[in-house]
Symmetry: C2
Subunit: 449 residues, 2 copies
């Protein structure tokens, strides 16, 4: 079976019972995380612009996280944007794909449109995320190295697959949907540090949902989108690709990539997380006075300098500055949205400390690894080695850590009581007859902000 | 000035009076052509699917050609799809870009949302098309050769520039809009022969319009989208690019690319048009009996075999079969939508004749050139040489030919009377205070179909 057909068959033919309990639990965790970060992002002024950009009337078919209701496509677009805006969503470590930001919004909107059960929703997400991760594995690292934002480009495959399953498409219709979504893949890394980066995830979500809805109505797309001569592999990854991760879906014992997916403790690019872990560990262990630090020296994975090396002018840019991440970790001991405000970027102490961060690339390190030394005035040094950053597969956030992250971020928007109800609804989603009780809570309509 | 900034400044700072009369006339001709082909396409069943794909309610802010009204974004999406569905829209010969299908829908929707005059509409389209053509020139031929559908990828720049001008954006906002649109560029050639090809134009139109609306509200995108390290040139055209066509905009005597843009006499891929011209010329001159033709031999530009070499199974595929185009030209003397029905593809005589078409590539020919010999049973041969196909820059369709094409295609949908009124409204658009009288006619709401 050719790879595109294989993905389509996997999407619609995999029985829900074949999805391991651990995978469904991981799916719930990603939903809880997405709801938390999207609720936190939902008050950003850019969201008003995005909601208005499609024109009026807004519609009321589907739920928008923290923002009421909208049309189906609009809900997918805005929810994808919200889920990725703070760079605080989950990460598939083998590929740096963010599978949830494109896949969850499409899954949620499709489920709402069909009145699907919580169990069907979770299964569809697990399938969609698997499809996205497998496509990502098939083009990594060549695709990302070429300059593509893999969440924008590959995300649409996951969004289409999840929606195709919920909408009851045949395998052939699903192959068409994957073709329509795949030829709409978009997003380049030049957009990092701008609002357009999060829009990539929104486009992938809306495009995947639209592809499934179109294919259900007989619309055709290239059913050889991956392997075709002018298809995704040839054009988006000319330096190389590997069909093995997709062929592997034929084996019933294939692993599930959601188990290689991590949640973030910091609201910035993931490659800097080991550095922040290390700085916070030293700060807390030695009660460091930030003013006394003359140098923060780090040996880092080369991607840190490739992706996150800049003197930021705005909070959004600071999320891609390892210097800012290290400086705020030292001063605040945290990396939430508050550490990435424009005002925090201009803070004199933070500005001084950014200039004292000296990172050197070390190709022998894993991405979740770092060596850090703090040099203090007077000559004292403190060093540490982080081998697995918090949130990486070998050191995942616990359900309790996730619940605390959720309470902080969702509580700001919904109030503590409604946030707690929403968390309960998410944990018990597999027993819900429809997702409306969950959606009613995350829409924020009844909020007491 | 860097290229992205140059395009932005050109888009918003060029005075309308600087646009030559011939360019504005060419702009009118592309609009008349787009309205004709979109009206003809508007009854295709796939349009129902597309209209429904964004969800309800449809909205009524902007006009959809032949289909009433919709939301702004939806109108841009559907009009772009309609304009390109029959592959019967205009072509920028130097790059094979179809500038109108992405640019006109965004221009029309933006004009409606602002109550713009006909003159402002025409100027904005001329500017947007120029931006799209200049970006296309900067990446041609490397970009298309890499497998991209240049109308999908480059079209968004034109759509964004035209909308930015009508919405009154500053040059800086326009650079952001170009960045947002550019990082949403999409469309691979694997989609040729499927509904997804026309969706590329719809996406470019909607994405460009959205980018301008977002940038007007302060949304940021990469303002170095063309020249940036991870920008459009680096990623979408790694084999080469040329900034000269964009730098040339700094010179007030720069030529206008709409003057290198042609309208199509046949509803299929443009590279096969010389072949159809030649076959029709021989058919008419020698009163050929198709059953007597044992071979149609052609020396063609290599792109004919690269892009349009297939035994089609459907009408849509037949638009990319030079064999089908030649066979129907011989039998019917035409290449309208009627020649590309599924039934026509299965016709026994056409099927037989397709197998009798023998094309050989000749790299010394220009794209608008062909040598054709018809071999008849009994040994008679008839040959001809077309040096400039109808619709190419050196042999453009006349205004009268365009009016006949319009009357045929628009008349089918609107009836002859309303079609004639619409044509009058288009020719006198430069004097219209708003575009509502034109839109009221092309919406088709008052149609007597």
């Amino acid at each position: 079976m050719e790879p595109t057909a294989r993905l389509a068959a996997f999407a619609v033919d995999t029985p829900a019972e074949a999805i391991p309990e651990a995978v469904l639990h991981a799916a719930k965790r990603t939903l809880i995380n997405v709801l938390a970060v999207a609720l936190s992002a939902s008050t950003d002024p850019s969201v008003d612009a995005l909601l208005a950009s499609e024109g009026d009337p807004p519609g009321d078919e589907a739920s928008i996280i923290g923002r009421g209701r909208g049309q189906l496509g609009q809900a997918a677009l805005v929810n994808g944007y919200l889920a990725h805006l703070q760079d605080y969503d989950d990460t598939h470590f083998p590929t740096i794909l963010h599978p949830s930001a494109p896949t969850w919004p499409s899954t949620l909107a499709a489920a709402e449109s069909r009145g699907a059960s919580g169990a069907d929703l979770l299964a569809a997400f697990a399938i969609g995320a698997e499809v996205a991760c497998r496509v990502a594995l098939s083009v990594h690292p060549w695709h990302y190295d070429a300059g593509w934002h893999i969440t924008g480009t590959v995300g649409g495959f996951g969004a289409a697959a999840a929606a195709a399953r919920l909408l009851g498409l045949t395998a052939e219709q699903t192959a068409n949907a994957l073709g329509v979504a795949g030829t709409q893949a978009a997003g380049v890394r030049e957009a990092f540090g701008t609002n357009a980066k999060a829009l990539h995830a929104g486009h992938a979500a809306a495009s995947g949902l639209r592809a499934a809805r179109l294919a259900a109505a007989g619309f055709t797309g290239p059913t050889t989108i991956l392997e075709g001569r002018r298809g995704f592999w040839a054009i988006f990854s000319p330096a190389g690709h590997d069909r093995a991760p997709i062929d592997a879906l034929a084996r019933p014992e294939a692993s599930w990539e959601l188990l290689n997916n991590g949640l973030k403790p910091y609201a910035n690019g993931v490659v800097s997380h080991p550095l922040q872990d290390a700085v916070i560990e030293l700060r807390n262990r030695h009660a460091i006075d930030p003013d006394a630090v003359v140098a923060i020296e780090a040996r880092v994975h080369p991607l840190v300098l490739e992706l996150m090396n800049r003197e930021p002018a705005t909070g959004l840019e600071a999320k891609f500055s390892h210097q800012h991440c290290a400086a705020t970790a030292l001063v605040d001991g945290a990396g939430h949205e508050a550490q990435f405000s424009d005002a925090r970027v201009r803070d004199p102490l933070i500005t001084t400390l950014r200039a004292r961060v000296h990172a050197t690339p070390d190709g022998s390190l894993r991405e979740e690894e770092v060596h850090v030394t703090l040099r203090l005035a007077g000559g004292t040094t403190h060093s540490t080695h982080v081998s697995h950053a918090t949130g990486s597969p070998a050191n995942p956030m616990s359900d309790g850590q996730l619940a605390r992250k959720f309470a902080t971020l969702a509580g700001e928007r919904l109030g503590d009581h409604q946030a707690a109800s929403l968390l309960d609804a998410a944990w018990s989603l597999d027993k819900a007859k429809t997702i409306e009780p969950l959606a009613a809570l995350f829409r924020g309509a009844a909020s007491a902000v």
